[in-house]
């Protein structure tokens, strides 16, 4: 091969040792983007997929047409949820580092996504989350201790030891099961929403995937079916700038925002400041309203930053600058909502610290309780023969036989 390659290879704006560079990120000033009626034609609102809906301005004030109706009390509660998610993540991360659970994934920096969207949805709406939506489970009523027991695979584990940590589900709360396979839940959400419309019900579905996951086939299937049948579904792309070691450009984000991915199918896209609690809430409500009124799917790109490692299995300092998060122009969602509340006179640094401590204690108490149901090293332990249940609705003969064999061997 004599001549020089002309293959374009996307290149991250900064790698370890280099200065973080977010100049590629196009921002709109808070309040600058119009809020169209929810029955607007897709064509007329294409700008929403490249502009960025933002409500909180540089002075932490809520401005513009997307500013939602929220009283201070509600905002405090929301802040509390985001802080709880973070406190939970921090503890679980430590716990994994101590070798007391086998794996963990945190959502640091992305807490507004799960909480603001959970607040905007109704309990009857069905959520198909990714592994970084722990906030959804919590907000919808999954107890800390149950989340922890899942991570411990102990006797109270909702998954009976079958799933890796963080692969929760909650049937009663209408939160689906997390799959290890990326993006597979996206068409599920669309099918669920189609069934809802088919049954004449008002429930909508929502699903979440990362920027990296948009390259998967299921992303295309989901958008295609959602567009064709005008399924009442919100398809969220959480663009936290990174997959594992590859940046969002490696997923095709170099030229157009992910929010634009559905335009060619007639699916409106909204690009939103994913770290702005109020903006995320507002666009989600808009999309939910549109879906509920028969307006079909909306694709929401939530621009945020993965504050932590991809998972406990990797070390991000190997592939991105250590201080990248600190330089991220959209900041930290918890910090921003806190400052907004303070600017409104409805919160203070002292209260915040106090609440942080309270939540730490709450998490710690839950952890203590969770361990009572068993840890990796100490009982009570789950009965391994549970592993043969639920492969089928009823256990077939060969599994009965294998269970018998296993019990004989283990003796």
């Amino acid at each position: 091969m004599a001549t020089k390659s002309r293959l374009h290879i996307p290149r991250a704006s900064a790698r370890p040792g280099e200065k973080p560079d977010f100049s590629y990120l196009e921002l709109s000033p808070a309040g600058s983007v119009d809020r169209p009626p929810v029955d607007a034609r897709t064509r007329d609102i294409e700008n929403l997929s490249s502009d960025m809906v933002r409500v909180l301005d540089e002075n932490h004030e809520a401005v513009g047409p997307w500013k939602p109706d929220f009283d201070a009390r509600q905002l405090q509660v929301s802040l509390r949820w985001m802080m709880l998610v973070r406190a939970f993540d921090r503890r679980m991360w430590q716990i994994q580092r101590q070798g007391r659970i086998s794996f963990y994934m945190e959502s640091a920096g992305e807490e507004a996504v799960s909480i603001a969207q959970a607040v905007a949805l109704r309990p009857g709406d069905m959520c198909f989350p990714s592994y970084r939506n722990q906030g959804l489970y919590l907000y919808r009523g999954t107890k800390l201790v149950d989340m922890m027991c899942q991570c411990l695979s102990n006797t109270r584990d909702m998954c009976k030891g079958r799933q890796m940590p963080i692969m929760y589900h909650n049937r009663n709360a209408n939160v689906f099961s997390i799959s290890g396979n990326l993006c597979t839940q996206y068409p599920h959400a669309v099918g669920w929403a189609m069934a809802s419309a088919l049954k004449g019900e008002d429930h909508i579905a929502a699903s979440w995937v990362g920027d990296g996951s948009t390259a998967e086939a299921d992303f295309h299937y989901a958008l295609t079916f959602a567009a064709i049948y005008q399924a009442p579904v919100i398809l969220n792309v959480v663009n936290n700038q990174w997959a594992i070691s590859t940046f969002q450009g490696t997923a095709g984000g170099e030229r157009r925002p992910f929010a634009a991915r559905g335009l060619g199918l007639g699916i409106p896209g909204i690009r939103v400041d994913g770290n702005d609690f109020l903006a995320v809430y507002a666009v989600t409500l808009w999309a939910a309203d549109r879906a509920r009124r028969g307006g079909g799917p909306t694709l929401i790109e939530l621009v945020t930053y993965r504050g932590g490692a991809h998972s406990t299995s990797d070390d991000p300092s190997k592939y991105r600058p250590k201080d990248e998060w600190a330089e991220f122009p959209l900041g930290d969602p918890v910090e921003r909502l806190k400052l907004h509340l303070i600017s409104e006179g409805a919160w203070s640094e002292e209260k915040h610290e106090e609440l942080e401590k309270e939540l730490r204690d709450e998490v710690l108490a839950a952890w203590k309780e969770a361990q009572r149901f068993g840890t990796m090293t100490e009982g009570p332990f789950l009965d391994p023969s549970l592993m043969f249940d639920d492969v089928y609705a009823e256990m077939p003969a060969h599994l009965e036989e294998q269970r018998r064999q296993m019990l004989a061997i283990e003796d």
Partner: protein, 338 residues
């Protein structure tokens, strides 16, 4: 009772279940207005509406993926994949999601999807309209794999499948849609009306999943097979004059081991046959199971016959297809052994 071919009985299974249960929906490519390229869904859209018999885009993974979501939301989706050869784009959704949803959520979530798909060769369909990929599903824990060999079983099993809370891959051997086929392509086509299993009740009935059937008792050897080859095996046995017991597996997973093993214990000899590519096919599982269960009763090595280990070649399909000559030779080999 009515005379039905396999297309009609399969259609009737869907009709009957849709009539009984408003949650049953059908989706797939060309299944709606057109009634399916093999006509299996003909008339159903007119009867049940465009939103219960849904024309889908050409996206097998999307069909299965959305069907899963519908199932989670209380429907009972019956998804048609136009040819089994086109199921692979949906393979991940079957293996990673459909098969394991109940397991990973301890039964809190499940999706009772039935995937219907025509399989097998003999219609000059070449390598992309002839495959029998059942072994790629029997290996997947959580999936029930079925392949009927006649109209009566097809309807009864399909009703059971649609009603089952387990995910099911339901293979329809297209060569016998219109009539039983004994493996001789030169003979004029035969219709199901001449066959006992072409008598099919119009209404509701079920054939249980997980049970094999002895379609012809015999003493000399056991032929274990399924789908089109059930008929070819019978003709082949007749050709040799050997008194073969023919077992139609019907449900490939989970397997009805007692029926199979009892037969081989009785006859002491066994031949396993399927149309799919032989190497690492489902026949291997049948042979392995029988040698485990019946080792001390076996008087000869179990003979295994399948399609050759090549893609299904268009012009040579009758050389590829395990027809009477090959099965008869196999029977003779097993009978002569020892």
């Amino acid at each position: 009772m009515a005379q039905m071919n396999m297309i009609e009985s399969i259609r009737s299974a869907m009709d009957v279940t849709m009539g009984r249960d408003p949650h049953v929906v059908v989706l797939g490519e060309d299944v709606g207005y057109f009634g399916g390229v093999f006509r299996c869904t003909d008339g159903l859209q007119r009867k049940y509406g465009e939103d219960r018999v849904i024309d889908a885009p050409i996206a097998e993974g999307g069909i299965i993926g959305t069907a899963i979501g519908m199932g989670v939301n209380g429907l009972r989706p019956v998804a048609e994949i136009q040819f089994a050869d086109y199921i692979y784009p949906g393979y991940d959704q079957v293996v990673s999601e459909l098969a394991r949803l109940r397991y990973r959520t301890c039964g809190d979530f499940f999706s009772p999807v039935t995937i219907r798909t025509p399989c097998g060769g003999g219609i000059r369909g070449g390598q992309t309209h002839s495959q029998s990929p059942e072994a790629l599903f029997t290996h997947v824990s959580g999936i029930t794999t079925i392949m009927p060999s006649n109209p009566y079983d097809a309807k009864g099993l399909l009703i059971s499948a649609i009603q089952s809370d387990d995910p099911i891959v339901f293979f329809e051997p297209k060569r016998i849609y219109n009539g039983p086929f004994d493996g001789d392509p030169e003979k004029p086509a035969v219709s199901w009306s001449s066959h006992a299993k072409g008598e099919v009740p119009e209404g509701y009935y079920t054939v249980p999943i997980g049970s094999a059937e002895i379609v012809k008792p015999g003493d000399d050897l056991t032929i274990i097979t399924y789908g089109t080859l059930v008929h070819v095996a019978q003709a082949s046995a007749e050709l040799t004059g050997v008194d073969a017991e023919i077992v139609d597996v019907r449900t490939l997973a989970p397997l009805d081991i007692p029926t199979l093993a009892d037969s081989v214990r009785k006859t002491g000899r066994c031949l396993v046959a399927h149309e799919a590519t032989r190497y690492s096919g489902f026949g291997a599982e049948l042979v392995a199971t029988i040698q485990e269960e019946c080792f001390y009763h076996l008087e000869a090595p179990i003979e295994r016959i399948g399609g050759w280990d090549t893609p299904y070649p268009h012009a040579f399909e009758w050389n590829y297809f395990p027809g009477q000559k090959r099965i008869a030779a196999g029977i003779r080999k097993v009978m002569e052994a020892e």
